[in-house]
């Protein structure tokens, strides 16, 4: 009887193992089909200027899988995409090449850009500028407004360079800073300059939108967290002139007046003033400049020691290139490959 068990078991087991081995030879035709597309002139230009030297992919054609279905948005106009690709190359990539060396750019610059034509609007009328995912991919939105931005006057920006920075380029420097921080974290000292003033999502509310410079922040968004503050410090520093920067410092250290301290005169912002500066009296000076300068010094040290980049040299290169673009010295439409 035991033998019968064994024989039957062996047969059953062998069936399990062998019975399905008889297979037709593999089909030589692959079932993996990629969307095949012939390269157009812009694709070729991108290959020569982005893909081959830096392994950066620019997705200027709409792809459902890259987009965020939360929002209604549209593809970017081709002529705007071509100009934007030139701008990012000239104002960001080439700048980092110049200041940090090609190896630096190749190693750290984000590997994917996705362009869309409109902003991502929320149901409250506000919208998102570019966003970044995991330090690899940057979404640049609102590309179809590029002609308006460059000719000046879009959303009240009379200076095209300032508008270009605000809507697109500063975002790239900002997100790039995050990538650098992910590679080598920024010094802990930075988080200790204004350790109790970070307010996460409340940064955009009315209560934090007036005295941010006096509290030691370059922008309202910098109040979000130390990480965003660091990225704002670097990106705003390198995209603005020393004159603008000094103006910000002057605002941050201005004299406190009765218009600040008197609830009757400071109707809209008295709460913000009193909660931020409970002991300040008219005639004294705000001291936000010291905080801002302390942060900038830490940013300077970090960039110098970690990546051997001098932020003043970086700023000079950014501003020089920016003015070259604004004066029309850079051809933003040519698809010739050098």
């Amino acid at each position: 009887m035991k033998r019968l068990y064994l024989i039957l078991s062996a047969l059953a087991a062998s069936l399990l193992l062998v019975c399905c081995q008889q297979e037709a030879p593999l089909n030589p035709e692959s079932v993996i089909t990629l969307d095949q597309r012939e390269m157009n002139d812009f694709d070729k230009w991108l290959e020569a200027n982005y893909v081959n030297p830096y392994n950066i992919q620019v997705k200027y054609r709409f792809e459902m899988n890259e987009s965020d279905f939360t929002y209604y948005t549209i593809p970017a106009n081709l002529d705007c995409s071509i100009k934007m690709a030139h701008l990012v190359k000239y104002l960001c990539i080439d700048t980092y090449d110049e200041v940090g060396g090609v190896r630096f750019t190749q190693k750290y610059f984000p590997k994917e850009f996705f362009y869309i034509g409109e902003w991502e609007y929320k149901n409250n009328g506000t919208y998102l500028l570019g966003t970044a995912e995991g330090g690899k991919k940057i979404l640049l939105s609102g590309l179809n407004y590029l002609p308006q931005v460059l000719s000046g006057g879009y959303q009240g920006y009379s200076d095209p360079a300032a508008a270009l920075n605000h809507f697109y380029i500063k975002t790239i420097h900002h997100e790039f800073t995050h990538i650098l921080n992910q590679t080598k974290d920024f010094p802990v000292e930075f988080t200790q300059v204004t350790p109790t003033s970070y307010i996460t999502e409340s940064w955009s509310t009315a209560n934090y939108n007036t005295y941010y410079r006096q509290r030691g922040f370059l922008s309202t968004y910098a109040q979000h967290s130390d990480r965003e503050d660091f990225a704002e410090c670097l990106s705003l520093y390198v995209t603005n002139t020393e004159e603008t920067f000094q103006n910000w410092l002057a605002q941050a250290s201005r004299e406190v007046t009765e218009e600040d301290t008197d609830p009757a005169q400071n109707k809209n912002h008295i709460d913000e003033f009193q909660s931020s500066f409970p002991k300040m009296r008219a005639g004294e000076h705000f001291e936000g400049d010291k905080l801002i300068l302390a942060k900038i010094e830490l940013v300077r040290k970090y960039m110098q020691e970690t990546f051997n980049i001098d932020i003043d040299q970086l700023r000079a290169a950014v501003l020089r290139r920016q003015s070259e673009v604004m004066s029309g010295k850079v051809d933003l439409t040519s698809l010739e490959i050098n």
Partner: protein, 466 residues
Amino acid sequence: MKRTIPILLAAAFLGGIFSGCVQDEAPVFDKSASLRVKDAMDNTQRILVAAEYGWKMYYYPHPDLDYGGYLFTLKFTDKEVEAWSDLFPTSSKSLYRMTSDNGPVLSFDTGNEVLHYFATPSGSGKNLYGESGLYQAHKGDFEFLIMKATPEEIILKGKRSGNILQMYPLSESPESFIQKTTKNYEDIFVSSYTGTINGEPATGYLDLSKRWITLTLSSESHAGEDDASAKVPYLYTEYGILFHDPVTVGGLTIDALEWDNDTQSLVSRSGAPVAVNLKGQLPPGWRSYNDLLGDYDLLFNDSGESWWSAPRHANISLVQDEYKKTMLMTGVNDHYTIKLTYDMSSGHMAMMGQIIGEYGVNSVYWAPLFARKGSGNGMTYSGWRSTDYGMQLYVDDEASAEAGTTVIKFESGPNPSATQPITGFGLLMQTPSGASGGWMTGNAYADWFPFGYRGYAVFWVSMTKK
């Protein structure tokens, strides 16, 4: 127990023999899914490009068809698509591609002013189409699942709206086809129709901005019947209007109507099973755009006088601006003209608040006003730097018949509240920062005053064509 084990083993053994080796189930398809998707894409692209004159597309945005339908004409090359519609005077070119992210998909994947209009959102500011507040756009699609593709017909399904779209090959150039469509869109400006459907009294109503039509059998014998009235979205096409799907009114099925411009009527197409004849009914006071242009004697009060005193006269003219849409009032002051909008379906005009010029660094608003009697002979105003408030101008048929010429009356249009109707307009400045720069009152501004009178504001009464 002893028995069960061999039985189970035997069952496994036999089961193995009978089921384990059923080999090579006959495949349902002769190719893999991905290859079939690729074939579908290649095939569709071949069909799209092959149509000599291109295609017409029946496009319906929004899952609830809230905006009615739009006819696009499209011409494809291997890489590019050129698109026309009755909403835009010129065509727009962009790239397109076949992709397989969700089955075979036709995607218009770079910007195209014509094709992407219904998908373009806006925030609190104006977008490139001048629209605002549409964060979900018009819920239009620009990516489509390919449901069917033959040289005679292509059926697409909008990825976001789920709407079904049809495409048919053209037998004439896309430009000339869209011209015919656009002409019907422009010619059909009347909303109300009366006439017959299959010999029975009937009415039609076109919601011109939403592109929906309502057909109703109006005789009392049909009162209360469920299908005495039907409503359906439509689009403008080369002969008239085509319904999104056939509607049934009193058991009669209608799917399209032809436009007869001579009689201003919507009629059944030749060969259609149900005879329809609905004649456009012009609203009272309706005048054509051209009828309204010309020279007028204007009656008004100005703010230099008591507003209830005898009105003054002035010569003004209405001259053509954007044809059938806007006109300019000249003769008010050398520094500015005032823009009026014309509504083709009512034949009325509107004068809304507007920026009419610059005074130094300030911009000057032609600001809508509400005025009331103040103390003594004075008056008190409220005025708004707003383009949302204004006055309606309409032809008074009775007064016109009496005068033997066109007489236009002014009345309050959109206004801030029921107790503050708009009675006139005044000159109000705005500083570069957007704050009020004050009324242009006082002699310093005298050369800006309307009609050269003392006041910076006017209260309209009427105007009579010369």
